[in-house]
């Protein structure tokens, strides 16, 4: 799911180069981020055969190309994924309902308003009103400071200087690149305390 206001123009090259054998979709309005309250990319969600979420939003690296920046190794996540594919509901990586409910708490009022301000900004940008879009992107960033999507997508549509900052500065403000992505909340190997009853 490409979260790209620019659509095929911006995301297309990556899809062609990836020669993907899986389904790749283009999400110009960041609908998936809105529906699932996502704040960054890559974000992964595991959904079982019945359409039920068994692991919600977490960083989902499928290789180590950003490891120097993030300090995150993709192997534990990929191993967890293989375990789930093999064992299904019996996998130790399937979260308990209580934990899922806590993690899937609804967006607060400010985050909700932020999603509307961001959507308005996207619409204005698409109809050639970049100058009018910027204040709404700024308002979305202010209302939901946790969302990196609102920052980085807006920077891409014009320039970081329109926002008086840079991505690097924002990452430093948030505690540095090693905490930019909270690591996946995986139980340790052999630890099944997070299993469903």
């Amino acid at each position: 799911m490409a979260q790209d206001t620019g659509g095929v123009k911006d995301a297309g090259k990556w899809i062609t180069d990836a020669k993907a054998t899986y389904t790749v979709l283009i999400d110009q309005e960041h609908l998936v981020s809105k529906l699932y309250n996502m704040v960054n990319v890559p974000t992964g969600v595991w959904i079982d055969e019945k359409g039920r979420i068994v692991r919600p939003n977490e960083v989902a690296f499928i290789d180590d190309r950003f490891k120097t920046f993030t300090g995150l190794d993709s192997a534990p996540y990929l191993n967890a994924l293989r375990d789930w594919v093999e064992k299904g509901d019996k996998s130790a990586y399937v979260m308990s309902e209580a934990l899922l409910e806590a993690k899937l708490a609804p967006a607060d009022a400010n985050a909700l308003l932020a999603s509307a301000e961001f959507g308005l900004g996207e619409q204005l940008y698409k109809t050639g009103h970049l100058a009018e879009a910027i204040p709404h992107f700024k308002e979305a960033q202010r209302l939901n400071p946790k969302s990196w999507n609102y920052k980085r997508q807006a920077y891409k549509l014009s320039s970081e200087s329109d926002y008086g900052t840079t991505f690097v500065k924002e990452v430093e403000k948030a505690g540095g690149s090693k905490v930019y992505y909270p690591p996946p909340d995986l139980p340790k190997a052999g630890d099944a305390t997070d299993k469903k009853p």
Binding site: A2, Q3, D10, L35, Y36, P42, G44, V45, I53, E101
Partner: protein, 167 residues
């Protein structure tokens, strides 16, 4: 004296009523991320309220005003009986609907751009509550060739949903 006083009151009331009658404006409504130009729409002075004709309501949102409420297919939101006037009024031979009051009723965030007269309506509560039920919210999006795919197309399979971006 008393009569003049009453006339004065009446005039004041008339002025108050007239100022509450909004003038026609042009507006762009974004609903379900789809833009619709609306002309005329109305915004009573000094308010953030957006009124559209019931015909434009359906054109922009696919919702219709019915006796049982404001409905789209099987989805129906009853209007509070005591507050009908907050949502519906008749003027110049047309029926008008307060889209922002309705947004508040269905817990839908609204953002407005004054310069371009654009109104953005976000996800309603019925679109957001799926997540709390632990069911994966469904959506339909195009692939690179423009063919639509829905999450529900993959029912019966395990799904790894991953977002990414060019930025």
């Amino acid at each position: 004296m008393k009569a003049r006083f009453l006339v004065g009151i009446l005039l004041l009331l008339m002025v108050a009523t007239l100022s509450a009658v909004a003038k026609d404006i042009r507006a762009t409504v974004i609903y379900d991320d789809r833009a619709t130009d609306i002309n005329p729409a109305q915004t009573p002075d000094g308010t953030d309220q957006l009124w559209v004709t019931t015909a434009d309501l359906t054109r922009a949102t696919r919702f219709e005003v019915k006796p049982q409420g404001v409905c789209r297919e099987e989805l129906c939101f009853p209007l509070p009986k005591a507050r009908q006037a907050d949502f519906l009024r008749k003027q110049s031979g047309k029926e008008w609907f307060n889209l922002t009051a309705f947004a508040e009723l269905v817990h839908q965030p609204v953002a407005r751009d004054t310069a371009t007269s654009t109104w953005y309506f976000g996800l309603r509560s019925d679109q957001r509550e799926t997540l709390a039920s632990l069911r994966a919210p469904n959506f339909s999006l195009p692939d690179m060739a423009g063919n639509p795919h829905s999450l529900s197309d993959f029912h019966g399979k395990k799904i790894l949903l991953v977002t990414w971006a060019s930025w």
